[in-house]
Amino acid sequence: MALYSEKVMDHFRNPRNVGVIENADGIGEVGNAKCGDIMKIYLKIEDGIIADVKFETFGCGSAIASSSMATELIKGEPVSEALALTNKAVVEALDGLPAHKLHCSVLAEEAIKKAIQDYYEKNGIEYDKTQFPNCENCSHCSAHAE
């Protein structure tokens, strides 16, 4: 059996929504180069809808595929739906990931949340901080925090 599902390989080989959005309404970057994965999400938000989304990723095959799939899942959705996206949903949409690659899908979920948080901050929108990951001590990279 191959390491990755057909779906993962498809999104890895032909990633959707790669790139940047100039003057994005929200930007979220998570992970660090030390642990080998960095994901950056750019959002364009219009009337509470994710009008456009782009990503840049430094990482393995599953990191790139997770970014691609996650952006596909939230594109055109209301912000509230994007906020509710879980890494589990990303993994399911990819027909699964190997156990030691699950952290890549977590990064995708967190990058989106961070981009939305950035949008809220920039626009002075009140929000519930507990809904967002605390990147100062994020679990999957703290092993390298030094």
């Binding site: 180069a33 080998g36 840049e56 393995c60 390298h144």
Partner: protein, 397 residues
């Protein structure tokens, strides 16, 4: 282009000559060499003959060759045997290096739990250690020095003869993991003062699951596998005659063609190194002179190794990387960390290891494929954007 195999440090394709030599021992000469009847005795003859041939290639006596299941077992047995000898004399200190194969490092870790003190010598940025470092590390209670002949990831060749001289002078057992060296460079256990040496057939076109340990006369071995009296009681289990025959034939073939192959490989290797060096912000890992003719190892800033491998595989190129994501652990290769590559850089590593079957055409294709894939991945890398925009400083200039 058809498949281009550039992962010969992981394993090699079997030699046709070796396969041919092995076949009769799976067919009509299937006897157990411990049996007294003629079919068993024919197998025993093949065993003796193979042992003699391998000993000749290493420059030792056939009684000094022990067959094992491969490099890992040889490393384990060599180290544990030396530790047993040391312990009896109250010597519980071992000198090795930070970039050994895990077969060595994990065995040393185990000994540490049994009260041994382990000194792992730091490796230079060029991937080399010096005989001076070894000399300085040896203490009155040192029972073993274990230094690999050639590194499996970055291909650097260590000053084995000089280290051997020092160990001999100091009366310390010297073991070398020569798994990547045997069949590729001239190894002579007498000239190089080697007391124990590990080798593995599948790295020189023999079959997997077979290897040998050379042990100098007078050094008692501890057996890891108890049972019958095979291998002079030091390694129980009916001998894998076909694999042993194949190993001897493959080694003979490799040694007979070594000059010719080295010339060809060195040219291909240098072509590959020159080609990949033109990629901006890339760096060769390991000294460019003191390295195996088969090994090319690079780090590319701003990208991650696994995605590089997957995309190269799509282009028909089989390669390897020391990135964390390819190893299934959080950390990138300990070898790259040992030569001072920081995590960020070590994740972007690529290892290409050649065999004499590779062609110039394949190398040219590989260089352009790597260039293309690196540029593509950098194009979607947020780190690369920050580097290019001057938000972050390049580590590889």
């Amino acid at each position: 282009m058809a498949q281009i195999y550039l992962d010969n440090a992981a394993t090699t394709k079997m030699s046709k000559t070796a396969i041919k030599a092995m076949l009769p021992y799976m067919d009509e000469i299937y006897g157990n060499p411990s049996s007294l009847h003629s079919v068993g005795q024919k197998a025993a003859e093949a065993l003796t003959e193979s042992r003699r041939r391998i000993a000749k290639r290493l420059g030792c006596d056939e009684k000094e060759i022990l067959f094992t299941s491969g490099g890992s077992e040889s490393d384990n047995q060599a180290i544990l045997s030396a530790a047993t000898i040391g312990e009896r004399k109250g010597k519980k200190h071992i000198v090795s290096t930070a970039f050994e194969h895990h077969a060595v490092l994990h065995t040393l870790q185990k000994l540490k739990k049994h009260g041994f003190e382990i000194t792992l010598l730091p490796v230079s940025e060029d991937g080399l250690i010096t005989e001076q470092q070894v000399e300085n590390a040896i203490r009155p209670d040192t029972c073993l020095v274990s230094v690999m002949y050639a590194n499996n990831e970055i291909g650097t060749i260590q000053p084995i003869e000089k280290i051997g001289e020092i160990c001999r002078k100091k009366g310390v057992i010297f073991h070398t993991d020569a798994v990547q060296a045997v069949g590729h460079v001239r190894v002579d256990v007498q000239r190089e003062h080697i007391d124990m040496l590990s080798l593995s057939a599948h790295k020189f076109h023999g079959s997997k699951g077979i290897g040998a340990l050379y042990v100098r006369k007078g050094i008692p071995l501890t057996s890891l596998i108890e049972g019958g009296a095979q291998e002079r009681g030091k390694r129980a289990g009916t001998e894998n005659i076909p694999a042993i025959v194949g190993m001897a034939v493959a080694l003979d073939e490799a040694c007979e063609n070594m000059e010719k192959n080295t010339k060809k490989l060195t040219k291909l290797r240098n072509m590959l190194i020159d080609g990949l060096s033109t990629i901006p912000h890339s760096v060769l890992n390991g000294d460019c002179e003191k390295r195996l003719p088969t090994n090319v190892s690079f780090c590319f800033e701003g990208i991650e190794g696994e995605s590089l491998l997957l995309l190269l595989d799509d282009k028909g190129i089989c390669a390897s990387s020391g990135s964390a994501c390819t190893s299934g652990s959080l950390d990138p290769s300990h070898v790259l960390l040992a030569i001072g590559r920081v995590h960020d850089i070590a994740h972007g590593s690529l290892r290409l290891t050649l065999s004499e079957e590779n062609t110039e055409e394949e190398i040219k294709y590989t260089v352009s494929a790597v260039k293309e894939v690196v540029a593509y991945l950098r194009g979607m890398s947020p780190i690369w954007r920050d580097l290019v925009n001057g938000k972050k400083e390049f580590i590889i200039k």
